[in-house]
Symmetry: C2
Subunit: 130 residues, 2 copies
DNA sequence: ATAGGGGTTCCAGTCACAGGAAGGTCAAGA
DNA sequence: TCTTGACCTTCCTGTGACTGGAACCCCTAT
């Protein structure tokens, strides 16, 4: 049983985030008589799980579902895999979108002299005049 | 001079967004006596510029600055280029982060059988046990 | 007169927290 | 004993860039 700062150092999550996760019902640490939160090893373990899932870009709702599956010993791994695959598709789409932006922008930046003159292909590109 | 729905079709921006852009001072369309907004060609052109800049992922604040440079005939193209280059670096960083996520997640997904059994490498990965 | 398809403002909600104020708690040192 | 400082608590507000919705006004056609 440990207080919030210990969980901070164990999980790398800021105390603010840990309290927020309690707020939205992802963890429910015990309380001491003085009102302080008192985290069990299991709580800390859950939060570490959440930290890793968030680091992989899963939404809070995905995390909630993954956590439930993690705790459900009778889960089917296909349920986990479906969530992960769906997220993977979203990540891939984001990457594609960003790469398209990068390519367009990179072109414009390379076309621009970047000197003291006002003539600027970047602005022209944004203007839509080609 | 046109009303907001015309600008919607010209720029592809939803009316809500156009009103929001007025709220935050990016455009200041005239008003008719009945209170309706009355957009000039220049307003529409500005909004089209904003739509393209936003589509390239520039923040509203970047857009504000780009718009100011666009309107400033005495600008130096280096100022525009600096904003664009900085944004390019951020995009690249995002891409790298997402690709790292994708790689990790893709590994896990491929390791997972995705059947009715509870054993799941994805959950194990999130657990941190390798 | 009414119906519909415009337009307007304003307020709340989104997502996942972060910042900060105001105050209670605890252990150590003077 | 008093104080100091580190820790903890709750609650409220703000973030970015909108989106949804309510309540209401305006204009034209039937």
């Amino acid at each position: 049983m440990m207080n919030i700062s210990e969980v901070e150092t164990r999980t790398g999550l800021p105390a603010k985030t840990i309290r927020y996760y309690e707020d939205i019902g992802l963890v429910t640490p015990a309380r001491r008589t003085n009102g302080y939160r008192d985290f069990s090893d299991k709580d800390a373990h859950k939060l570490a799980f959440l930290a890793r899932a968030r680091a992989l870009g899963f939404s809070i709702e995905d995390c909630r579902n993954l956590l439930a599956l993690w705790e459900d010993q009778t889960r089917a791994s296909s349920d986990v895999r479906e969530i992960a695959k769906h997220h993977l598709v979203e990540i891939e789409a984001k990457i594609q979108g960003l790469m398209a932006m990068r390519d367009t922008l990179s072109d414009l930046v390379h076309q621009c002299a970047g000197d003291s003159r006002p003539d600027c292909p970047i602005l022209k590109g944004l203007e839509g005049s080609q």
